[in-house]
């Protein structure tokens, strides 16, 4: 029934397969994918953008930093990289701040889903701030010169 095994061989294997299928039916009834989530996933197709360069997450303090004793509410530090471009972001409960490196002017928006976008204030050196912390999944879209860079989606 599954990748690894072929037809059930004996009565025990057959009973296993029956129980597995029964569980599958139970999951469909008792724990289906919520309809609103399916809808969001369908709409996510709009996020597919082959023209933008993808800035991959290369550092996430949640995973890569050693826990600091006493620092209960340390800000989340994120680094994204696309080729020679680095985007550093610090997420706190007050919002987010960050910088585009090497420094240069850019227009930056916070994406909150297939539809939601919010422009950020950016200074000429590519430093940006927002006084609204991202809620839920977010990504940043940066336009600098002719280039568009989008950071990998992640959950704040």
């Amino acid at each position: 029934m599954n990748g690894g095994d072929g037809m059930p061989e004996g009565p025990e294997e057959f009973a296993d397969a029956v129980l597995e299928e029964e569980l599958r039916q139970a999951a469909v009834v008792l724990d289906p994918v919520p309809a609103e989530l399916l809808q969001v996933a369908l709409e996510a197709f709009a996020l597919h953008d082959l023209d933008a360069r993808l800035a991959e997450l290369t550092f996430d303090s949640l995973v890569d930093a050693l826990p600091v004793r006493g620092a209960v509410d340390a800000p989340r530090m994120l680094t994204f990289r696309a080729g020679g471009t680095t985007v550093d972001v610090e997420v706190t409960e007050d919002g987010l701040i960050g910088q585009l490196l090497p420094p240069r002017p850019a227009r930056i928006e916070v994406l909150g889903g297939p539809q939601a976008t919010r422009p950020l204030t950016v200074d000429p050196l590519g430093r940006f701030t927002s006084d609204t912390p991202p809620s839920g999944p977010f990504a940043l879209r940066l336009r600098t010169g002719a280039e568009v860079i989008v950071t990998e989606w992640l959950r704040a």
Binding site: V29, L30, P34, A41, L50, L62
Partner: protein, 183 residues
């Protein structure tokens, strides 16, 4: 299908979403996240998949890619919770989705009611199986049935250990159901 979606075919994307969402959801549920966290992980996984479309090296392994991405996001949530030492334990929040109407519609005859009762008990017994079995079975029961490669990506366990673990867990579950007189 992945290639068609890359080329802008919305119907191919829809087929991917419908075919793979139960797997992604099963990974979320296997990790016992709260509803709010689980929903965000699910969304993040699909947003990232849309973003990586066309950059995924092995399109025929899209299921494993999704499962692995969902797993890593789940682990980040758990790590964040551990760090914050929140008082509300996500395990307390673990339950079947609120959306119970399909089950209720089942109960319109005695026979159907018996079946619904068995389904409900089966679900309860899952919690008593131990964490490894509960996780494996929750992912295994996604529909369509996930491949062992996908299960491996979903749970971070070796492909070779899935078959024996599956057998052990299903038999343990059967034994528990039998012990409770549910046939």
């Amino acid at each position: 299908m992945v290639q068609s979606a890359v080329d802008g075919d919305a119907a191919a994307w829809k087929a991917l979403v419908e075919g793979m969402s139960p797997l992604v959801w099963s990974v979320v549920r296997a990790h016992r996240l709260s509803d709010a966290d689980g929903h965000e992980v699910f969304q993040t996984t699909w947003f990232r998949f849309a973003q990586h479309l066309g950059r995924i090296r092995e399109p025929d392994k899209a299921g494993a890619w999704l499962a692995s991405t969902a797993r890593h996001e789940c682990l980040k949530v758990l790590k964040g919770l551990a760090r914050l030492t929140l008082t509300d334990d996500p395990r307390v929040l673990d339950r079947a989705s609120e959306d119970r109407t399909p089950e209720e519609t089942l109960i319109d005859s005695e026979e159907e009611a018996d079946r619904a009762e068995r389904v409900r008990r089966l679900w309860q017994e899952l919690d008593g199986l131990g964490e490894r079995c509960r996780q494996l079975l929750r992912v295994l029961m996604a529909s369509p049935p996930p491949s062992y490669g996908e299960i491996s990506a979903a749970l971070g366990i070796a492909v070779g250990s899935i078959g024996p673990l599956r057998q052990r867990c299903l038999r343990r579950l059967r034994a528990r159901m039998n012990a409770r007189g549910a046939v």
